[in-house]
Symmetry: C2
Subunit: 152 residues, 2 copies
Amino acid sequence: MAFDDADERSEGVFAETIHSVIGYQLRRAQLSVFHRFSVAFDHLDLRPAEYSTLVLIAENPGRKQTEIADALQIKRANFVALVTRLADRGLILREQSATDRRANALYLTDCGKQFLAGAIRVQDELEHELVQMLGGDAARGQLLDLLQRLSR
Amino acid sequence: MAFDDADERSEGVFAETIHSVIGYQLRRAQLSVFHRFSVAFDHLDLRPAEYSTLVLIAENPGRKQTEIADALQIKRANFVALVTRLADRGLILREQSATDRRANALYLTDCGKQFLAGAIRVQDELEHELVQMLGGDAARGQLLDLLQRLSR
DNA sequence: TATTGTTATACTCTATAACTATA
DNA sequence: TATAGTTATAGAGTATAACAATA
């Protein structure tokens, strides 16, 4: 990932201007949080997009691939490999839709449900860690609200 | 980039759970803001990392490549091509340091200073647009504060 | 020995175009 | 014709390893 111990070298470099740019701070925070995610999920070998896919399938069983992909803003072409990996690991089922034989209906397997339960525990711990960094639940609510205003 | 008009297909997909995850919303907001950046900077053919590099060189003339790269958390190996492109465009100078002949001291050219002045105007406009989405300057300050707490 | 800039390389993420089978 | 899933492919971004020149 990122985050080596090379920050001492940039001591004394004036960076206040760029640090007050929303996009710059957004990117830094996002990289930091995703890095924490990858550390926390290392033993589960699960990436952020895979986690959100499992959550969405769990709460919307039987939906088409394209519907899940669109909800996550993932191009359907890129979603194929992601879904294939989850299916190969036995976490989800790709079932040909009865009403539209072009479409795949997605479901969690029992194994996938168990796996997701564990993943949610890891994610909840991470979220709690982030809330502590933010300074409490109110700050988290504020942040989510502000971020949502920037999306679209 | 992203953002095609495929959101109608995900209508009715329940996504509240994943939408309340900090990392997920961070990623969405970051992608949205970077997309706006790429639209705004299309005519200048400038990427976010290049913009921040120009700003840092302007405020820290004569610094080594590694110092600027570290301040931006860019690996020095990846910084080479970025600096080469800016130098090839005549925006920056790579001068062999007098005190350490291994090192390159970085400077903006006069052309680079003019170019950056224009780029800063574009960035300021974008920032203003984002502040309006956030609901004012106070919200922007809050957001920057919260984001900084998540970085490292 | 350690550091600077560099090259080579690989992996992930994301984007588009085009195919097939269905509708 | 249009859509769902798929394949192929290309461009960014980011990671590591290793080398030459210099300290």
